[in-house]
Symmetry: C2
Subunit: 340 residues, 2 copies
DNA sequence: CTGAAAGCGCTTACAG
DNA sequence: CTGAAAGCGCTTACAG
């Protein structure tokens, strides 16, 4: 491996000083057009690239963002939630559009977790995606704030903390989905997913769901809210528990598509017809939602826009501009699983 | 934002020299146990983190790998091939297991493409995933070799170049799938996907497919090989073209799951029963393959193992150890779309 | 518009 | 085992 050329090599060949090379390569207006062109030509010829470690060290910024993806440690380690995978895709694209590099890391929530990336100057800021239990997570967030780390997160607004969150309007999404199914004549709903402060997004969906019920003179059956995390397996088990409970139901709201898909399978394995006997709805609109049988009615979270908003917000934060928590609307996607 | 502590701050507080701090933090055996503990305690207290830009600059290595994901520019820009998304997930995990950071970048093949990452010392090596047309891509690979860039790629072996490729045994996978469908009594196959040196992986699958046909005394109908790129849409159109061609067929081999899924939809939209009239098989085993109706018989590429192999191989390459091109076996996953 | 010089925060010979 | 010093390759005041 031949050693890489430095700005001094360029300077020598161009017959100018190294400072001028540095300026020319960054298109500084301070440098003469002719000089600039000559320097750039030589740089291209030698296949010279600025050493990012040196320039970052000197200028104290890295043009790099870090994405920390937390997975629920209880989840089987081979699979990543497809919703997060879509987010990852859109964040990656948004970063390259903005000229930032993206450092990606998977974390377990139980890891010793100190926002290494920003502290070690590898990234200018951090995007947080996912978490296990929100109550545990919140402590970490407080640490980040104390360390003055610049970060944005995907999720529901955290009213108690000065944090920039980008998320969907889970309440309204839950309301809209439920209302749609009510219009189709269903009366006895079950909700599969944790509905507590440990999972604020699910909780908001549940609150919207309940509001739609009471607005339509239907009652909420507490016994039909069964905890589940966002995996197919967990949805399957929750639906099984629902069936065994003996409670009557003609509609299931899965707090996420994965839960809904698992629930649908549990229903079918136990002889229930979907949607004839039981309507099923999910949340997220992951790619496979359109391929299930029957295809899944759900609330679409726009991952493309979400990725762009996360990246834009973080860059503004880094540049010291004010940034606000944003709530994006969801789209009701009507397919076959709810009987209309 | 309070300014970050440096190794000099630690040195001052610990009453030792900055060199000693540097050694202590990297657990150098040269430093006294007691000194080391004291230094580390102070570092923790001040929440000190080594500045990566400085240490990388000095030590000339970054403990960072770059993943370049190329997408077919003809593809709709909102979607990333789910197969690559799985690979991305497993590569990310493999990197963190090995203590490397991962820089992720999406590229368009038509971009000015110079392996910036390694040249600018941001990454020690590069993983290449995907490409548009192999013939164009090959030129880029030659450039990389000329620049002595350390990289590994996902894909079929390139015999003509000294490149480390990690890929699946596409030939055998294609053979096995085809043989399975032949055993179920199908005789007239169509192959949807480009089968030429522009797409070596698809070509290998096609060759395995053809070999299985001739080994079983069936003939290959050239008119039934129709080009398609790895998208649902392209598969849909290719199947339409097949239908319009008037050629007889009772089985379709989609060169990827996405193609097969598109083809299945085209068949169903045109009144064909899958698998009763036409058996359909795919390749990859992307997550949605098990959710299609009917569920898709396919050859599974083990993305978890693939990610680990890519990362391990690249790290060995960086460390100057010999690395060989590896072919991983595929797994035949029999589901409902092939009628057995 | 250009150059000489300082310095970003580390790691690593070198000397003791 | 420890410290003083050099230097990684840039960017950026400062002076002209």
């Amino acid at each position: 491996m031949k050693s890489k050329p430095t700005s001094f090599d360029i300077a020598f060949r161009a017959g100018v000083s190294q400072s001028t090379v540095s300026r020319a390569l960054r298109n500084s207006p301070l440098v003469n057009e002719e000089t600039r062109l000559k320097v750039q030509a030589i740089a291209r010829e030698l296949n010279y690239k600025v050493d990012k470690n040196a320039s970052n060290l000197r200028s104290q910024q890295s043009s790099t963002l870090a994405l920390l993806l937390f997975e629920d440690p209880t989840n089987d380690d081979s699979l990543i939630n497809p919703f997060f995978l879509s987010m990852l895709g859109s964040i990656t694209k948004a970063c390259s559009d903005k000229g930032y590099d993206l450092l990606v890391s998977f974390q377990q929530m139980n890891d010793d977790w100190h926002a290494e990336f920003e502290d070690s100057n590898k990234a200018d800021g951090i995007i947080l995606l996912g978490y296990g239990d929100f109550v545990d997570y919140e402590e970490k967030l407080i640490q980040l704030i104390e360390q003055d780390t610049r970060f944005v997160r995907w999720g529901a607004e955290v009213e108690s903390l000065p944090i920039v969150s980008i998320g969907c309007d889970n309440f309204h999404g839950g309301y809209q989905l439920t209302e749609h199914v009510i219009m189709n004549g269903r009366k006895h709903f079950a909700f599969l997913g944790e509905a507590s402060s440990h999972a604020p997004e699910f909780f908001d969906r549940y609150k919207g769901h309940c509001k739609a019920l009471t607005d339509n003179q239907l009652s909420v059956n507490q016994a039909c809210q069964i905890d589940a995390i966002s995996t197919e397996d967990s949805g399957y088990k929750a639906a099984l528990a629902l069936i065994e409970s003996g409670e009557p139901f003609d509609a299931i709201f899965g707090a996420s598509d994965l839960i809904a898909i698992g629930a649908m399978r549990a229903l079918q394995d136990n002889g229930y017809q979907v949607p004839e006997q039981v309507a099923v709805i999910g949340f997220d609109d992951i790619p496979m939602a359109s391929f299930t049988f029957p295809s899944l009615t759900t609330a679409k979270q726009n991952t493309k826009l979400a990725g762009e908003l996360l990246v834009d917000s973080l860059i503004k934060l880094i540049q010291g501009e004010p940034v606000k928590t944003t709530l994006m609307p969801t789209n009701l996607i009507v397919r076959k699983s709810c009987g209309s």
